[in-house]
């Protein structure tokens, strides 16, 4: 184990730190430039750079230690990441009942199903070194999808209490009464991922492809594999968005089909609501 760590601290690592030093220097120059225009981000920049470098060095060390370990170890790491992601998503989902548990289930469902599918089909190599980085990308994206779905659902329901309760008062099931809110919430959670897919290669070349090309893989294969990863991120986000809205829907109604989620203050009726059971 120690030998692996020592191996990691080889010459290329030292070279990496030197490159990081250059990058840090450039960022500090930009921070100082901002200061000249009364934009004070020096402290935050220094803290962020220090944290970023420390965290990534630590992750690199952990990966170096776990490279040859059993795949289950990678699974546990992803589970821990899912927990951390759920905490972050729940913090962003203000006013949502039971947000932490709900976020955990949603992120675990989206990430878990997709990662398991990728491993089963061989799309993802069954080793820790591949599983953890790719899995963490998927977890991070499902975390954002979860937070976006929850927040959008809450906003949609509280902005359209009148229509939701009109539906209930006409004898509709809660699922029908909030169907447009669900549609919009899931769509909102998917939109950034759809944009990401559309702009792939045109606006940005993501890290996986760049890393593969740098490591000597065929650029064509690297491009196609990157598409696979982003498509899987979209799939995982879709599952997470759906699960999150289904779970929250069950929590915003009482067993007697009464709407429990309400705005803290009366809000005006917002135009453009699709209405229960209708397309947006």
């Amino acid at each position: 184990m120690l030998a692996e760590v020592m191996h990691s601290l080889s010459r290329d690592v030292l070279e990496g730190f030197a490159q990081a030093g250059v990058a840090i220097g450039l960022c500090l120059v930009v921070a100082l430039l901002c200061r000249r225009f009364a934009v004070h981000v020096e402290r935050e920049t220094v803290v962020s750079l220090a944290r970023g470098l420390a965290q990534m060095t630590l992750v690199g060390l952990i990966l170096a230690l776990l490279l040859q370990r059993h795949l289950l170890v990678g699974g546990f790491i992803l589970l821990a990441m899912t927990g951390a992601a759920a905490l972050t998503a729940a913090r962003r989902a203000q006013g949502i009942p039971d947000a932490l548990r709900l976020s955990f289930y949603s992120i675990a469902a989206g990430s878990g199903i997709v990662v398991a599918g990728m491993l089963t089909t061989g799309t993802l190599a069954a080793n820790v070194a591949t599983l953890v980085p790719v899995g963490s990308m998927i977890v991070a994206n499902t975390m954002n999808a979860c937070a976006q779905a929850l927040e959008r659902f809450r906003a949609e329901v509280t902005a359209h209490v009148g229509q939701v309760e009109a539906g209930l008062a006409l004898g509709a099931d809660p699922a029908v009464a909030v169907a447009p809110c669900m549609e919009r919430a899931v769509y909102a959670s998917l939109l950034p991922r759809l944009d990401m897919l559309k702009s792939l290669g045109l606006v940005w070349i993501p890290g996986v492809m760049a890393g593969m090309v740098v490591s000597g893989a065929s650029p064509l294969y690297a491009g196609i594999y990157q598409f696979v990863i982003v498509a899987m991120i979209l799939a995982a986000s879709g599952i997470t968005g759906l699960v999150a809205t289904l779970l929250i829907r069950a929590r915003v109604f009482s067993p007697a089909a009464q709407l429990l989620l309400r705005p803290s203050e009366p809000r005006p009726v917002v135009a453009g609501y699709a209405g229960p059971g209708k397309e947006a």
Partner: protein, 244 residues
């Protein structure tokens, strides 16, 4: 004479209506949220075909009381009997189809007028025939509005569609939460007359919130006054208002 004793109010009204039984009965109905009492131990019986007006100052708990009657909110004390059956034993969706509600704001679903009217029956796996929609629209004074987009309706027209949408479920009891308060005088009188004629024609039981005492006099058999969540008076409308 108006009284805060429910029984006397019922007996008086019962005599006026011929005593046909009870359509809706609130029994010690209460609701409190976070220590704030919204509805405080209200007991009242409403007979078939009766129109009961609920009046009181703003924030007195009138709307809270009405929302308890079709279980849009859950009572924290007491219950409601619908046609003699405790409404907690009835599926909320079934109850709400039988106890229809027209809210202060129309809250129509985007789409056409016909889409809105068809919504209620569709929840009960029923299809409302185009002729029935036309008949309902004719009844609420909106002939030719079937395919209109609801975003182009005036406040009065929207409220008429809201009424037609509720009537499409063929409810036994109609709950009206100040349905004319957001309308101008002309629309208010139009809707009021329409409500009265439909309620009489369908022999519906009706509980109507109003802040307008003359409106209560024009429409309601009995009037109940709520203050700070409590029923402080109930009786024949003219007597209650004369005493108040």
């Amino acid at each position: 004479m108006p009284t805060n004793a429910t029984t006397q109010g019922i007996l008086t009204a019962s005599a006026a209506l011929g005593g046909q039984g009870i359509a809706l009965e609130a029994k010690h109905l209460s609701r409190a949220i976070a220590g704030k009492v919204l509805v405080d131990d209200i007991s009242v019986q409403v007979q078939p075909g009766e129109i009961l007006a609920v009046v009181g100052p703003s924030g007195a708990g009138k709307s809270s009381f009405l929302r308890l009657l079709n279980r849009l909110d859950e009572p924290t004390g007491g219950t409601v009997f619908f046609q003699g059956q405790d409404y907690r034993t009835i599926a909320p969706q079934t109850l709400r189809r039988r106890v229809g509600m027209v809210m202060q704001m129309a809250s129509l679903f985007p789409g056409t007028v016909a889409d809105n009217i068809a919504f209620g029956p569709r929840q009960n796996q029923k299809t409302i025939a185009p002729e029935q929609i036309l008949a309902l629209l004719g009844r609420v004074g909106l002939p030719g509005y079937k395919d209109r987009d609801v975003s182009h309706l005036s406040g009065g027209e929207a409220q008429r569609v809201s009424l037609a949408r509720t009537l499409a479920n063929d409810p036994v009891v109609l709950l009206l939460d100040e349905p004319t308060s957001a309308l101008d005088d002309a629309s208010e009188r139009g809707i009021e007359g329409l409500l009265l004629s439909i309620i009489r024609e369908r022999q519906m039981t009706c509980v109507m919130i109003t802040h307008d005492m003359p409106q209560a006099t024009r429409i309601a058999h009995r009037t109940m006054i709520i203050e700070a969540g409590k029923m402080v008076a109930i009786g024949l409308t003219e007597e209650v208002l004369r005493a108040g």
